[in-house]
Amino acid sequence: MNEPVNKALLPAGLRDALPEEAEREATAVFSLMNAFRAEGYQTVKPPLMEFEQSLLSGPGGELAQQLFRLMDPISQQMMGLRADITPQIARIAASRLAGSARPLRLCYSGQVLRVRGDQLRPERQFTQAGIELFGSDAVKADVEIVLLTVAALRAAGLQDLSIDLTVPSLAPAVLTGQGHEGATADAAREALDGKDAGELRGIVGDDPLIFGLLEAVGPAETAMPRLQALDISGLAGQQIARLAETIAGIRAVEPDLSLTVDPGEYRGFEYQTGVAFSVFAPGVRGEIGRGGRYVSETGEPAVGATVYLDSVLRALPVTVSALRVYLPFGTAPDDARRCREQGNRVVAGLEPEADPEAEARRLGCTAIWHKIEVKDI
């Protein structure tokens, strides 16, 4: 009963990343962040934990169930380990950087922790990297975020990407307009999200407008005309127009990018107020990243995106590990320096070896430094 736990056993959803995988992730984060910085996004680094209240305010409200909490022995207040970095960036923009010039462009990367993984993403800890743009309500800002997300993922090595666009507030607006409220509206929304025509018919009958939303799913070029043909006015109508403008803006730069539209999508977009999007890669379960427009707690317009490195790594082709060159024991310092200056990764021998080549092979090196040059073994 009381057997000691094997020290290698980690709690569910937590894992060690070993050399090759850890390096792949670090490289991917570096490429993403470089791409973000190249477009003028400045790096910020919020702490791993902070007061629960601030983590849960604004865009963080949906994460209450996902927060690891602990009591701060100093202030005697409840603290939370961040489950998402976005609310922290919004807090920074609204407080310490409230006086900075707008539009304010910030980027970040870091670890997040969640109480529960789900069936498809069992990880409780993973790396997030993302961008946030504060203080602009322009369509151009939405377009910039989508394009930069795509460009950064490409820089990290993901070529085959698909962007799925939605307006999360559209379906509720249409449902309310058609007189559905409360539990009925929620059930209809879930059926729309699950593309469950049978279920939807049972809830709203044969409402052509609501079924119109269900049919406006698919490649942007075919779905958008269907969506625009629906008789939707008011705020919801304006949002459809805005979605069309955003797509046009993306298309102007990326004519071949795979773009789909899905007006029923809403999970994980609970705080989004405008156009939102998810990034997919063929054969990779779940989304690679997501983003969209929201209003920060101070009422400032904001748009951002975040990518999940666990999914990014699942989508990346497995690369061969970098070449490592063995420096036999006693290699002269000048020779060793020359080897390093050629950009090689070196593994230095610490003790005299009988057969340097065998030693090199034992340590996983594919080459050895032979007097003045790299020699493959």
Partner: protein
């Protein structure tokens, strides 16, 4: 985007398969001969479309294969979808087959004196612990679920527990075991299901198949 990956359709073994195959064929998919050979131990079958394969798995596993993207399309009962509640499965089409219902049943003798509205705790044998717990939680009843994989009807007669939650189609199995339905949970049919990532990354191809199945279902209904 060109994808050379095959499209895998997961079909459930057993009862539903007989009803589903006419629709699959009407949608223009004809599996290789081994599919209909009861002696074949093959699990994966080619079809008349070079890029389309069929796998035959247990009905509960259809949802799992599709949720994880191992299969892109599948046919699954609404009961299975409710039980797993995978967010990465879309169910765009009600196939109008496999009609039955999920219900709570108990021995006829017990039901004469039993008042379900007064329950505060029940012990239930079921294949559907998630649906059962959710159903009773909504009613404010605490449910202790005993997971069984079949022959639920035996549980009350042998004293394992007094109530079961199971699929009922004609009710004859219940009757033969001295049980009666006391609560209706949901009406069940089979759905065509689609993996979310597949629909987003291969929209034209996947929607084409959904449309083929829709036509097959409409033709059947007409």
């Amino acid at each position: 985007m060109t994808t050379t990956e095959p499209l895998v359709i997961a079909l459930p073994k057993g009862r539903i398969l007989k009803e589903a195959m006419p629709l699959v064929r009407a949608a223009g998919i004809e599996p290789e001969a081994a599919f209909d050979d009861p002696k074949s131990r093959q699990l994966r079958f080619a079809t008349n479309h070079p890029g389309v394969e069929i796998i035959r798995v247990r009905s509960f596993d259809v949802a799992t294969f599709v949720a994880f993207g191992a299969a892109q399309l599948g046919i699954a009962g609404h009961d299975v979808l409710m039980e797993f509640d995978y967010s990465d499965i879309y169910a765009p089409l009600d196939l109008g087959i496999g009609f039955c219902r999920l219900a709570v049943a108990e021995p006829a003798e017990l039901s004469r004196t039993d008042d379900p509205s007064r329950w505060s705790h029940v012990r239930v044998a079921t294949k559907y612990p998630h649906i059962t717990a959710t159903h009773f939680a909504k009613r404010g009843v605490q449910a202790e679920c005993i997971k069984l994989n079949g022959a639920m009807e035996l549980a009350p007669t042998l004293g394992l527990c007094r109530r079961i939650v199971d699929l009922v189609s004609t009710g004859s199995t219940l009757k033969a075991n001295g049980l009666v339905e006391v609560e209706h949970i949901a009406d069940i049919t089979s759905r065509l299901i689609v993996n979310r990532t597949a629909l987003k990354t291969r929209p034209v191809e996947i929607q084409g198949w959904i449309e083929q199945f829709r036509r097959a279902v409409d033709a059947e209904a007409a």
